[in-house]
Structures are given as C-alpha cells and as structure tokens.
C-alpha cells in the first residue's frame, strides 16, 4: 500500500511529509547551534578578557566575501526550484550548478583561512576563542559539505526522478533548498559573532 502524502499535500495540514520532516529536522538543528552559541556566550562572559576576532588575525574581508557567496547560493538554489515549477530543467541545472560552485568556493576560501591560522600556530588548543572558532566554523563546514552532497545528487543522478514523478522531485529540491537556507542563516550568525563582535 502506498504511503500517503509523499508528494501531494495533506488537506488539513497543508503539508507533504518531507516538508514537515525537514522543518522538524531544522528545529533540532536550531537547538544544536543554539546550544553552541549559548556555550559561546557562557564562556565569553566567564572570561576575564575576550579577544576580538580581527585582533587575532581573522580575515574579515575574506569572511565578508564568503558571506556574499553563501547568500548568493541561497538565491540560486531558490531560482533552481522556481525554474522546476516552470518545468525548465535546463535552468534548474544551471542554477543548481551555480549553487554547487558557490558552496565549493566557500569551502576553498575557508580552507585558506584555516591554513593561515594554523601557520600562525593558532590551533584550537591555542585559546578558548580559537577553540570555539574552529568548532563552530568546522561544524558549519560539515553542514555545507552535507548540503553539497544532496544538491550534487539532485543536480546529477537524482534528476532521473524528474521524468518519473516531477512533483516529488520538485518537492525534494524545495526541501534541499530549505536546508540550504538554514546553513546560510547559521553562517550569517557566525560571521558577526566570531569576526566582528
């Protein structure tokens, strides 16, 4: 027997299963990063002195660039979903491809930032600031990679489903998009917290 509401929405809830699923998943993600941010606050308020990210040589320009890139990728993934709604697979591949490029760019830049730190001997064990810096950005990085895997799948092999069941494929892209916006949002909190404040 088919499981209901896998692609069509349930009238009384107005949702299809995966959409509710992703919202719940994101709720728990909010709790995860919420817990880490709270830890950051607790450690910072407990510390006699707290260094400013830029004084410790965090590269604000690069980070700003990265912020732009992520925001851009959020836009492109949205467009890729829109183009599916308009049944334009070519455009979908284009925008989803751009999203992937952006995320790749983000990681490359992050890699150079990390290397810079490590060269200065600023490892996580250096002090509490770098401990939390590497933990938060590292965890965020893992989320980016996770998103890339999913988006890559949808861009490539996953596309098969489009021809079998366009509605469900569109849903998947929407769900992937929701996740990606979240990853973007987390960074938008991380950037000022670590680099500016």
């Amino acid at each position: 027997m088919e499981i209901p509401y896998t692609s069509e929405t349930r009238p009384d809830t107005g949702l299809y299963n995966a959409k509710l699923g992703i919202w719940l998943f994101l709720a728990s993600e909010v709790m995860l990063f919420g817990a880490l941010f709270s830890s950051y606050i607790l450690l910072r308020t407990g510390a006699p002195v707290w260094p400013h990210g830029r004084d410790l040589g965090l590269n604000v320009p690069l980070a700003t660039l990265n912020t732009m890139i992520l925001i851009g990728s959020s836009v492109t993934i949205l467009l890729s979903w829109v183009s599916l709604r308009l049944h334009d697979v070519k455009k979908f591949r284009l925008y989803m491809g751009l999203t992937l490029l952006c995320s790749l760019g983000f990681l490359v830049i992050k890699y150079f930032e990390y290397m810079e730190k490590i060269h200065h001997g600023h490892l996580p064990s250096f002090n509490t600031f770098f401990a939390i810096y590497f933990t938060l950005t590292g965890l965020h990085g893992l989320h980016v990679i996770g998103g890339m895997v999913v988006n890559g799948y949808l861009w490539g092999p996953g596309l098969k489903l489009w021809h079998k069941d366009p509605q469900r494929f569109t849903n998947r892209v929407e769900v992937a998009g929701l996740y990606w916006h979240f990853v973007d949002l987390v960074w938008i909190f991380l950037f000022p917290t670590l680099y500016l404040l």
Partner: protein, 587 residues
Amino acid sequence: MALVDEHAPHAVGHADDHHELGFWEKYVFSQDHKVIGIQYAFTSLLFLFFGFTLMMFMRWQLAFPGRPLPILGKIFGQTFAPGGIMLPELYNQLGAMHGTIMVFLGIVPLAVGAFGNYLVPLQIGAPDMAFPKLNMASYWTYFIGGVLMLGSFFAPGGAASSGWTSYPPLSNLAGAGQTVWLFGMLALIISSLLGSTNFIVTIVQLRAPGLTWMRLPFFVWAQFVTSFLLLLAFPALQAAAVLQMMDRIFGTSFFLPSGLVVSGQVLEVSGGGSPLLWQHLFWFLAHPEVYVLILPAFGIIAEVIANNTRKPLWGYKSMVYSISFLGFMSFIVWAHHMFMTGMGTVMSTFFQTTTMIISIPSVVVLTALIISLWGGSIRFNTPMLFALAFLPMFAIGGLTGLPLGLAPTDIHLHDTYYVIGHFHYVVAPGTIFAMFAGIYYWFPKLTGRKMSELLGKLHFWSSFLFINGVFMPMFIQGLAGVSRRLYDGGMAYSHAQDVLHWNKVMSMSAWGLALAQLPFIINLFWSMAKGKKVGDNYWDATTLEWAATTSPPLAHGNFAEIPTVVRGPYDYSLPGAPVDFVPQHRG
C-alpha cells in the same frame, strides 16, 4: 539529509503487495515498521538484561566488599579483577555503563523504538511510518551506537568510568573509553533524532480519516510528546559531546578552567573553560530524557487499564493536556540536578518552583488513571497486574522527587542513595513494569498467540516482591547519608555503619529479581512457538491495531484498506451497544 530522498523506491517497490522481498530485505534491512519494531524490541531487551547483569556484579561488591566474585570473577581478567576481586576502576566503569546502557540502549529504544514503531502506525491506521528508510536507518545507527558502547569495554583502560553523567574535568582526564562513549552517544543521538522526526511526521500526516487529535489513543499522544522531547533536548547533549570531543582530541579547554593541578602537576592546557557548562548542557537533555523514560510507560498503562476496566479513561482530555504541559515544562527544570554547584537564590528559586510545578501534571495523570478504575469491571490478568502495580510504584518514585526538588532538603540528600532510590522507583518498578505490561498485552498482536497466564503471574509476583527489596532500603541508606557511587558501599564511613547491613538485603533481592525474570524469558520464547492461538482481537479492544489482521506476519501495509474512524478511542461498555466494546471504526 536522508530526509530528502526518502521512500520513493520503497513506495514504488511495495505498491503491489504480492512483490516478494528477499530474506535480508525482509528480516534484516527491513523497512517495515513492524519488523523494525521487533528488531528494536529484542536488541533493547538484551541490553536491559546486559545492563542488569553489570549491576549484579556491582551488587556483589556492595554486599561483600573486597570479596572475590564467585566463578564469574575470572571474566574481568587480572587487570580489573585480580583474583576475582573487583577493583574500583572496574566498579566505576560498570556503574557508568549500567546507567548509560539502561537509559540510552535499554529503556528508550524499547519504549519508543519498539513499542512506538510497532504500534503507532497501527493505532493511527497508517500503512507504515512516513519515512520507512529513515526508520531502518535509525535502528541501524542505534545498533552501531550499541556496538560502540559494548566495544568501549575493550578500550585501553576500559570503558567510560565517570558516571553516566560524565562530568568534566574527570571525564576529560579519563581514558580512551570515554572517547568511545562520546562517539557511541553521537550515534544514539542521531538515531533518536531520525526516529523522533519520523514519529512526529507519521502522527501528524498519516492519521486515518476521522482520527482527530482528541480521538487518538493516549499511547499515541504519549509517543507524540516524547518525540518532541527527543527532537529538541538531544541536540544539547550533541553539542556537549562535540565540545568534549574537541577537548579530548584537539586539546581544547571548553570544560577545563585555568590553573588545574592534577596529581601535583600543573596541567598543560590553555584553560579558560567551565566545568559547569557541561552540566548545564547535559541536564538540559537529561531531564527531558527522564520524562522520555516515563511518558511511553504512561501511554501503555492507559491502554491496558482502559481495556481491563472495560470503560473509557476518566479525564482523557486532562491527561492529554497534562503530558503536553509536562513536556513543555521539562525543558526548564534541568538545574534541579545542580543545586549543590553554588547556586544563588534567583536561580534556585526559579528551578525549585518549576520543579514543583512539573510535579502537578504527573499527579493529574496518575489521579486520572486511578479514578479510571472507579466503576470499572476490573480483570486481573497479567498485563493488568503490571499496570496496576505501576501506579503505587511510580507514586513512590515521584513523591520522593519532591524533597529532592526543594534545594534545602536536597543538601542532605543530594548524591546519596535516596536519589538512586527515587529514580529507580520510577524507572524500574515504574517503566520496566509498564514495558512488561505492554509485552504481555500486545504479544497476541505480534504473534497471534497468547502468553501463559500462570508463568506471567509467577513473573509478576516474584518481580514485585524482589524489586521493592532492592530499592526500598535505598531511601533509608540515603537519609542516613550514604553517598552513591561508593565502591565499598559506604563501609569506610562511620555514619553509614548503622544501615550497612541493608546492602546484603538489596543485593540478594537484586539476584532474586534476576531469577524472577526466568519465567518471563521462558514464557516469551515458549509462547512464540507453542502458545495458545488466538484471534485478531484477543482482548476485545477498541483501538485500530486490533482491527488489522494479525500476524504472523501482518501483511505489509497493515490494513486491507485504511479504516475510517468514527468515535473516540475507548468506547467500552457503551450503553445500548450489543457487546461491551465498540471499535473506533465501527459506526
């Protein structure tokens, strides 16, 4: 993000029910919620049994400190038990792992993974869980977590030994076993997150037509609230685990303050961390977690009581509101575990108050359950006996939570056996009894056979006797001031001398309790093969699981066609009805 590419192949694969699955797909990597439920059931029962076994070794050391363990002493080897005498190192490992295994690998997977998985889709008239692949994934991540936890015993220096609470700095300084413990916990956390997401979506989306929220069986409500607790509380421990991994692997100091001096040597770390940070993160999970241990039990008890009183639950709505409120409140009481960490008046007043408030919904639920008995026609079969015993047992556990919840009285009782007694009354003769009630009650649905009443009653009465023998004396010891986690059971302390003899009583009872499980284990396996065959609805029950044609094996998809629900969950003894029960889908 497994969520995204969910169930497409599944739904396609099973669109036609004749399509046959191979052995592996059917019994091992199954996506059928019933098979997964049974997988959860056996794994978690084995873990329960294992966790119990660890404790039986500890109880020997507590009853006869420094005396070699008879026969079995050998298995721990010379490093941890030279000449069969358990070393404190080993005692601490067993203690920490007993707690971890019982909570995270025993009760939660049994209460949620097994009962929830098997029954929720059936009770809401759904063909399966919303995300069958995810369901399979969560079982196997749980399995991996279990393997890691067991493996940690073989880590250099043995398993985690800083208590199930793993307070740093102690846990930061502990051996490799602690790292394995952290990875194990991560696996278990991920498993719970996948599982709870799945449950919530299933209950919201897949309810049969006509099955409105106030027509849900109370069991489903309990699982619903439980899932939210798991979903939103576990991430805190996830964060804590990540931070402690950083500390242990990358040498950060999240939980290490500056100026630590360990065995005369200044510790070479950057410092600047906070030991209390861990406690806040841990208890933010662990308090909701303890309600995760009890809510499914409430659910099971409610089903069994309604069925065996042959009348509707009294105050069903108030029960539903109570557990929802309880679920919400459980996020803001966590620091009642931390009164002794140097808490000021503002914080302590807040957490004492919330703790007193959260006791009210439990009172409401228990009261409603007891009043539900009034006017019933009570059948004392095995499931009902366990369900009835649950009420006063939970009452003892719950009531003893009150002196712990008031900071001044907690001063003397904190970290004594009083605490141990308190929570074992809620989880052992509480939750475990509820689990037994559930197993006896739904066994006919799983197997089409019933379990032996004789062995069942034997199991009940002996367990009831011994389990009180284990836990009642703990209150006396606790009030006398005997601390928990003492390798020698307190015999070094003069203030413990007067109550020391209870250790032998408790240990004997614990071993007796183990023997009392034999009838159950025999009953379980014997009835599977030889138990009396019974019909689809052996208990004359009203909820939907009994409307599905019984296994073995329940056809995949559960129902020939999805029933339409027309009435509340417990229409027993409806005036004017031909029989004393009217199923939810019968007009």
